[in-house]
Symmetry: C2
């Protein structure tokens, strides 16, 4: 699981600070999460192949999370993309994108499929054999969802030598990987665990931005490997967090602690601060395993 931070600052793009966008690589998927202005240029800088992005998840319709979307869709068109593109985001996202295509008289030559979100409870919005994506309803000034990306429990690892010794026909190997006991060539039932071991532990990632401190999300994100939780402010500006429905680094850490996550990744920093270190320090008063996201950083989990 690899996470590339294209941008992690709040409010407005600046010369050296990009607004929210990140790419999660998980099980051969490349999910784009949020798409602030300039995201397409950040994707180029990260040398991410545009065609590998097939799903874009937009948390909410504030500009610093989605003003780059229509430009990206348009660039895909100019590059004669043919691959379907799925867009998940709040109701209204389809109208605003299609209005701009209409005004430009520029329709995509690929399929653009909108999945508009309206629910206030967590829902499964994407699923294939290996990965699930669920919404995480957040508490911000407009309708907002975080997103939970979860690998499914993978196949068990087959010990081929052991299976051969147990005289099992290769036709049964698939069933063994799926965890079933099988009958061998001699008619004897072979217990699954004698020829397989557990597969890789499924990874999980929760993206929670923008949001005020909201304990309701804890059951949804329980024990995720990595939690990205916005931390727009430091403690001394907790009153601003309340007023603008954002979080402090300490509040993000409190959520991480209660949810027993593996790593807490901070981001969505206000640009009023000179250094990011203080965010980490304040979070670590509550929860030890904290990382600072920053534009251009890539994390391997």
């Amino acid at each position: 699981m690899r996470l590339s931070i294209l941008g992690c600052y709040s409010a407005t793009p600046r010369t050296l600070n990009n607004t929210t966008s990140q790419v999660l690589e998980i099980n051969n998927h490349m999910f784009l999460i949020d798409c602030g202005e300039g995201t397409q240029v950040q994707l180029r800088k990260h040398k991410i192949k545009f065609n590998r992005i097939k799903h874009i998840f937009i948390s909410h319709l504030h500009g610093d999370h989605f003003f780059g979307l229509v430009g990206l869709i348009s660039t895909f068109r100019l590059l004669t993309r043919e691959t379907d593109l799925h867009i998940y985001g709040p109701k209204g996202i389809k109208e605003v994108v299609t209005l701009q295509m209409k005004l430009a008289d520029s329709w995509t030559n690929y399929n653009l499929i909108f999945h508009e979100l309206t629910s206030n409870t967590s829902e499964l919005i994407f699923e294939d054999e290996k990965v699930e994506v669920h919404t995480i309803p957040l508490d911000h000034r407009v309708y907002t969802n975080g997103f939970l990306f979860k690998e499914k429990v993978g196949d068990r690892k087959l010990n081929v030598r052991a299976a051969e010794r147990a005289n099992i026909d290769v036709a049964y190997y698939r069933k063994l990987k799926q965890g079933f006991d099988v009958v061998n060539e001699d008619g004897v039932t072979i217990k699954n665990e004698t020829v397989t071991k557990a597969g890789n532990k499924p990874k999980s990632y929760a993206f929670c931005s923008d949001t005020y401190y909201k304990e309701d999300i804890i059951p949804i994100i329980k024990k995720v490997d990595v939690l990205y939780h916005e931390s727009t402010f430091l403690n001394k500006h907790e009153h601003l967090a309340l007023k603008t429905k954002h979080s402090t680094a300490k509040q993000a850490a409190s959520i991480a602690k209660q949810a027993h996550v593996g790593t807490l990744l901070l981001g969505h920093y206000s640009t009023r601060y000179d250094s990011l270190e203080r965010f980490k320090e304040e979070a670590q008063e509550v929860f030890e395993n904290v990382e600072l996201s920053d534009d251009g950083k890539t994390f391997e989990f």
Copy 2:
């Protein structure tokens, strides 16, 4: 008159190429012309004070000319702008901007005044004591206007020593600057030209992008000091210019020659070419005084 090129490449923003946007400083105005994605970051790089921009002119609603507009409007709001902002552009521009503000539940605290354009003949869209702005109807795939910025004929320059010697009361100096003859303290009529000389020659700038080769614009831009005319393609791709309703450098030069302009400024280059020099060479086969615009360049005229 100073022109700052924020971006002058066609189609999509890239790591080193920005889409169309430029700032024209003329007679204390700072006019923003077109606003591709990333324009607000380019404005910061050029250290242009956001508050000095009071008028934005959008040629047409293709993304590479206006996808940065809503972000700029939003950033002005976040910076608690109070100054009115006037936006001139094709019909539809108000709907698309206000829809995005509605979805974000983020309305500007300053006045946002839209001037939607629909005419197919040149019209006066802005005027004050010193400057006029007229549209230049262009021929592109969607409804498009160029813009002609013209200083008005300025005040005559008063020779104060001569006026004193001629025994003219200071109360008449304003009238002298306006070109009138006046009566002096002795009741004698003083000819204006004996105490004044002509003021600065009024400057003019025509922005023409995007457009196919269109001779109809020649009377409108006749004898402008500077003509920015798009030159998306070189000669060898003239068939693409025809197909996509863009121009070649040579076609731009032909317009410049017929209109007897001072300087031709090329731009809106396709990124398929390795070097810009060839654009200049092909244009100079027809018209001598050619300059190449490029991102970050500033021209003083």
